[in-house]
Symmetry: C2
């Protein structure tokens, strides 16, 4: 009954301002599609700077560039938030082949996984044992694994509609494959790339040795899906083939880096903070356009589009460009740590970290009552073909802000092509469509506008509905 009343009141409040909201949302979309900056910013980030792995010179350049662009926007505040980040470097290009008999080799495409150690000088050659996942290691045991290269080859499940679900069902092989295989004495690990397509690109990504001592750590690399199929086919013919790989990556000391933050200070409730963000670092193989250049430039454009559309937020809106999502999440953790230490009140955070594809909607991490409030805004998004409003996860960088009060959300773009590019050399600017990117920026801006205007309070925890 109480909830019904809440909804009724929300409906009434919504009706009163519906026309203005419609107009404001329309302006936001029009501005983004005719006058957006996101694509130009992404062009610079991708083509003038490129891949931005934490601790790299490019990551530094990206910090400087985005700070300078924020400063051009006439925001109320722009600052850098210091954070120490890990620095892993790939070194000389990896090299790998399948050897069917001495001198008979076929080159294959691999890349070191982020955080992996190098192979010994001169590379590693060993027999291969193919498995479909971590569980299978135990049934094989040390006897069958010791001294071999473990080849994790469970593909992403093609009949899942969300490719993120398919990724979630596979990525344990990449993250924990080396850690687990090392326990059975494996010499190295090769993981089928997290890619639904059959192609020649190896896809990197983070892996962990857990608490394995240095002496037990083994090198770990991703192999392209085409070459995973090839290797699997050759193993079916002959279990005794050798696999060779050489990689030269290295973990260096942590270095100083920064989250980049731009802010429009709220006119009525400056102490209530809304965050919109993406991560500024990227893997090193491509230029990081989809992961997560897109989220960065969209978040920047949220502030600009609010201003361009004549909207003066009541609450403080911060665009936060997080450093080091890919291999450490140090930026996200640091931002939350500082927020806590300053006793800042964060009411809403929205992350875009799923590619610059056509936006389909949002996923919300919030109470049922708040979700009902959010759902009442759905009609405003329908003309823009934003249909997906579901409860669920949000984003890695904003995750550390989670408490009982904050509402978290993630932009949900169409996911079908994301893992074609994710963490691979073909995550490139040419694969981002300008309009799709701009529609994402507009959708984020519209949601931030509504969240700022109507707040995240619900009758169940306050009577302050009038805002």
């Amino acid at each position: 009954m109480k909830h019904c009343l809440t909804l009724l009141l929300l409906c009434i409040s919504f009706q009163f301002s519906a026309q203005t909201d419609e107009e404001n949302v329309k302006n936001i979309y029009s501005n983004s599609l005719t006058n957006g900056m996101s694509y130009l910013w992404l062009d610079h980030l991708s083509n003038q700077i490129g891949g931005r792995l934490s601790g790299s010179l490019n990551a530094e350049k990206a910090v400087e560039y985005t700070k300078a662009e924020f400063e051009k926007l006439g925001l109320d505040k722009v600052w850098l938030q210091p954070v120490m980040v890990p620095r892993w470097v790939r070194g000389a290009p990896e090299f790998a082949y399948i050897e069917t008999s001495p001198g008979m080799t076929t080159n294959v495409n691999i890349c070191a996984l982020g955080g992996s150690i190098a192979t010994r000088a001169g590379g590693l050659k060993a027999k291969v044992i193919e498995v479909k996942g971590l569980e299978e290691l135990k049934t094989l045991g040390e006897d069958k694994i010791k001294g071999k290269i473990v080849f994790f080859n469970r593909p992403m499940q093609a009949d899942l509609i969300s490719t993120f679900d398919a990724y979630g069902g596979c990525v344990d092989q990449r993250y924990a494959g080396a850690m687990e295989a090392a326990k059975f004495g494996a010499a190295g690990v090769i993981v089928r790339s997290m890619n639904l397509r059959l192609d020649d690109f190896p896809h990197t990504g983070s892996m962990s040795y857990g608490d394995l001592p240095n002496s037990k750590r083994i090198p770990s690399a991703a192999i392209s899906t085409n070459d995973a199929e090839l290797l699997s086919g050759m193993l079916a013919l002959d279990k005794n083939i050798n696999f060779f790989f050489s990689q030269n990556c290295k973990q260096l000391d942590d270095v100083q880096s920064y989250n980049v933050i731009g802010e429009i200070t709220g006119s009525e409730f400056p102490n209530e903070i809304i965050v919109v963000g993406g991560h500024l670092d990227s893997w090193d193989l491509g230029d990081g356009s989809h992961d997560d250049g897109a989220g960065v430039v969209q978040s920047m454009d949220v502030l600009r589009l609010l201003k361009e559309s004549g909207i003066k937020p009541k609450r403080t809106i911060r665009a936060v460009l997080f450093m080091n999502e890919e291999n450490g999440l140090r930026g996200g953790n640091k931002y939350a740590e500082v927020a806590k230490s300053k006793n800042e009140k964060h009411v809403f955070a929205l992350e875009s970290d799923a590619g610059g594809f056509t936006p389909r909607g949002f996923s919300f991490d919030c109470s049922d009552v708040m979700f009902a409030k959010i759902e009442s805004w759905k009609p405003l998004f329908k003309p823009y073909l934003i249909h997906y409003f579901e409860q669920g996860g949000s984003g890695a960088d904003i995750g550390p802000l989670k408490d009982n009060n904050i509402v978290l959300a993630g932009l949900r773009p169409d996911s079908q092509r994301y893992f074609d590019h994710h963490h691979a050399a073909n995550d490139m600017f040419e694969h981002v469509n300008k309009r799709e990117l701009e529609l994402g920026a507009a959708s984020m801006t519209a949601l931030i506008y509504l969240m700022d205007k109507y707040g995240t309070e619900t009758i169940s925890n306050t009577s302050k509905l009038k805002d």
Copy 2:
């Protein structure tokens, strides 16, 4: 009240069979994503055959290939339906430049519009007058137009969410520009390509001279959007620059071609026919992957996916691969003419002719009562992120079937990238994503399955709800 009752009965009937429908729809999507043929067929059509302009050798090859593939599927009937088609040929490549002063030229990218005449031998050089549309011609009058090249440069409107709406608002320039400009004595016509992106590809497409006598016809070409911007900018500096273009296209005599048809004959109501189709012809510049190779292979896969999913249709399901949508619609007209002459009862037709992108839903041309029935199926599509069910247009090829009883529908894929490729040299296989194409084929199959099972009858025109 009657409608309420209809809906209530429909809801009850829907509830009864909901579980089976859910399972069947799931099977259809799984089959398409793990075991679909559409991408392989498209690979052949695009990469082994290529652009398939009506009357060309490639169009003939496409007829033979798709007929042979239908025959492998174990359908009840496969046949060719003869249709005479126009044959327009491009001839030697077009060539064009802007001349700022004698000898000072800048080459630009153009292509002849489909149906245009050639320039005189040696090409056409003339002063240029830029206009924003057909209306502006009248205000300028013969005085300002005679002997000049009219440059139609109204861009597609970027802030429309459906790019088809933006196309609809512009394409009159391409279709009727030459016809109208010729009336004022223009020497030729150059039209800004129907493309929302700024790039170097000219986009062809059909144009018409209406009933202008041959002697009055003038050559007409599309210019790339980048070069349209360049030309416009140069004209702003100097109205007296010359534009030169040369094209060698020709309209030849009509030739024999075919619609390709495969059929699963209905088990209970074989005389009630459901059509699913796309068009087999394409423009000649690219390989016609999105327009409309995608619709062709998806329609073919509908029949295969029904069989693979163990569904035996009650009604007759025909996949019709229409010839000559692009420059004549002869195939669509012929199919409807034959259907009428045989007194065939067509109850539903679905066309896919908007690209092989992620499907967002369908547009339905039907009564409100029928639309309410269709909307009751929406929950079955939600897990596949098919949210868009709207009343509206369907497709050009199935349009001639329209009467008071048939329900028409069009697949509505995401439209953002469609006009980046439409009718241009970059409508290529590499720009089709396998999963997006397969999701489209599955969505079409699921809709055909439901339409076959529940029929297109509604209580308002019959009491036969039990099927």
